[in-house]
């Protein structure tokens, strides 16, 4: 991954298994969101490939990439809801664009998606009329609109209070189990990471590469690198009294 001549990360090689809750973790500014943006096609890798099963996402022609993108859903950090549309319209837009459903059917599906994230009855609200946490949940409903096989979350807990953050974690797990989707999360919130993830990759800003991968609980028990241990224990060993 690079911006011009500046290499953000190199030698990234990891696999996300179907049904995983996979966390991309690492310190601030290490390139977690950049990696996510590469995985969802917003950025192109300088070298290398991103594969979805046997499908080569990096090398695929644009129309095939577009078809693949319909099989993924993304929840952006701030929700990224379209402010000129109601919540039902936000969730319904992908259905409108990519299915032949009637407006009534789209409305019904949008309502059930909003109900899944606890927003039953808020169909006709505009994003500016609801709280940040609700916007995030509405963003999740939109990400799920087309029943994606892979759901990407960019810092889902950012800006949420601990209880809302916990509820969102539970929701992610419920949706993973209910929809049978694979979940990829960018996060540095340790409680969330340990609560939901069963697989992960750890990015290091200093060496500009991944220095660990696997179940975060395993990485905590047997850290392959002191930096991973420091991160997963919040630098507990380095605290000085007083």
């Amino acid at each position: 991954m690079a911006f011009g001549d500046f290499v953000v990360m190199r030698d990234l090689n990891f696999t996300v298994r179907r049904g995983d809750v996979f966390v991309i973790m690492g310190g601030s500014g290490c390139g977690k969101s950049t990696l996510l943006n590469h995985m969802i096609g917003l950025l192109e890798p300088a070298t290398g490939e991103i594969l979805y099963g046997d499908f080569n996402f990096t090398k695929a022609p644009p129309e095939q990439r577009e078809r693949m993108l319909r099989r993924i859903g993304v929840l952006y950090q701030g929700g990224a809801l379209w402010s000129s549309m109601t919540l039902a319209e936000n969730v319904g837009l992908p259905l409108e664009e990519f299915t032949d459903l009637s407006p009534r059917e789209i409305r019904a599906i949008a309502s059930i998606k909003l109900a899944l994230v606890g927003l039953r009855g808020f169909e006709d609200y505009y994003p500016s009329q609801i709280s940040g946490g609700m916007q995030k949940r509405a963003g999740l409903a939109r990400a799920m609109a087309l029943d994606p096989e892979v759901l990407f979350f960019d810092e889902p807990s950012a800006g949420l209070d601990p209880i809302s953050s916990r509820l969102l974690d539970d929701l992610i797990l419920e949706l993973r189990d209910g929809l049978g989707a694979t979940v990829v999360v960018v996060s540095h919130e340790l409680p969330s990471i340990f609560a939901i993830a069963n697989n992960s990759v750890f990015l290091d800003a200093e060496t500009r590469t991944m220095i660990a991968s696997g179940d975060p609980k395993e990485l905590l028990a047997h850290p392959p690198d002191p930096k991973v241990h420091r991160f997963l224990t919040r630098g507990a060993d380095e605290r000085h009294p007083g």
Partner: protein
């Protein structure tokens, strides 16, 4: 979503009466939403049909692939059954689907959340519009007062703003606007000359095209065309910049830091545009006369020196300064409209677009109103 079994059969929906007066809804085939959703009307018909249904159950033994289409159908069926006080049994549904239904029902509908789409009486709407208008006027006057105070503080040397911001704005609305002002003013000059040439040529008075273009540009058109260009270019940019800052809470950050956003953001923009408008107006005048000269030389076969001498003789300092004064007034109007609309912007990205549009419309409308008032006053004063 979960594939229970691979099948190519499309959505199948059948009904059967069970022994205990239950209605068994048999779901078979592929229930993917791109096949369309079956109407729940059939379910209503079956539930309402005699003999009375005591319970609704599902049979999914022949169910193939499913996704949100099935979830939506089951949710609507559940609502219908509950509305008729008929218990519903989910035990025949796939586990994943049951989990999703439980999740959808985990948070009950907030009773007062649903938006009521009902028309309000005319009196209500007129009253509301009047209150909005009054509040808008109050906000405008408050904003004008804020700018007046900011100017007072600037002359006292107490205003907080960055000199570099003002210089950047001067460059942005001055030098960077040269291209578009050049093009439009030159073309307006040619249009004026064309209009005059067709008529004056009939009387052999084509030399007066130079007078027409010179007086027209210097007295009115130079200032007016510059104003229209700057309203569309700079006024909209001011509204969009400040509107975006409002959305991203940058203006809030200034306020909570104890820095007046009017001093910090509005003052440099108003000063920059007020300084640059008269200069752009003079530049526009010159370009307009050159456009006229182009037509005069190419079409009317006038010598360039003859044209420019005639134009020079027709131009008075009164006309020149009158045009520059008008341009200054337009500058004040455009800058204040742009900044005001930016400050009035809502918190969403679409409101930034609205703010930019309203800035241009306000700038042009009030500019034309000011033009009319000034024309009347100039006439009254014999200028």
């Amino acid at each position: 979503m979960q594939a229970e079994a691979v099948t190519t059969t499309l959505t199948g929906l059948d009904f059967e009466r069970g022994p205990d007066a239950s209605l068994v809804i048999r779901l078979s085939g592929s229930w993917r939403m791109h096949h369309g959703l079956p109407s729940v009307g059939k379910v209503v018909h079956e539930i309402d049909k005699a003999p009375a249904v005591r319970r609704v159950t599902f049979d999914t033994s022949d169910l193939g692939e499913w996704d949100s289409g099935l979830l939506t159908f089951v949710a609507r069926t559940t609502d219908l059954a509950r509305a008729r006080k008929v218990p519903i049994d989910f035990s025949g549904l796939p586990d994943g689907l049951v989990r999703l239904i439980e999740l959808a029902e985990a948070v009950p509908e907030k009773k007062d959340a649903r938006v009521k789409l009902q028309s309000r009486p005319l009196v209500d709407r007129v009253g509301e519009a009047t209150i909005d208008y009054a509040q808008g006027t109050e906000a405008f006057l408050t904003f004008l007062g804020g700018i007046a105070i900011a100017f007072g503080r600037m002359f006292n040397g107490r205003a907080r703003y960055r000199r570099i911001d003002m210089l950047v704005e001067i460059q942005e609305c001055g030098a960077n606007a040269f291209g578009i002002v050049t093009l439009i003013s030159f073309l307006v000059g040619t249009i004026l000359a064309f209009m005059g040439a067709v008529q004056l040529q009939q009387f052999g008075a084509q030399i007066y095209v130079a007078d027409l273009v010179a007086i027209g540009m210097v007295r009115e058109m130079g200032a007016m065309m510059t104003a229209i260009i700057m309203a569309g270019r700079t006024g909209a940019a001011y509204a969009a910049q400040l509107g975006t800052m409002k959305v991203t809470q940058e203006i809030d950050a200034l306020t909570t830091m104890g820095i007046s956003p009017i001093e910090f953001l509005v003052l440099p923009r108003v000063v920059a545009l007020v300084l640059m408008m008269p200069l752009l107006c003079v530049y526009s005048d010159v370009l307009g006369v050159m456009g006229g000269a182009f037509v005069g030389v190419a079409m009317l076969k006038l010598a360039p020196t003859t044209f420019f001498r005639e134009a020079w003789n027709a131009t008075t300092l009164t006309n020149l300064f009158g045009g520059m004064f008008k341009a200054t007034v337009y500058g004040v109007i455009i800058a204040i409209s742009g900044c005001l609309r930016g400050f009035q912007c809502g918190r969403s990205s679409s409101s930034v677009g609205d703010a930019a549009t309203r800035a241009v419309v306000t700038g042009i409308v009030w500019g034309v109103v000011a033009c009319g008032i000034m024309a009347f006053l100039f006439n009254l004063l014999g200028i």
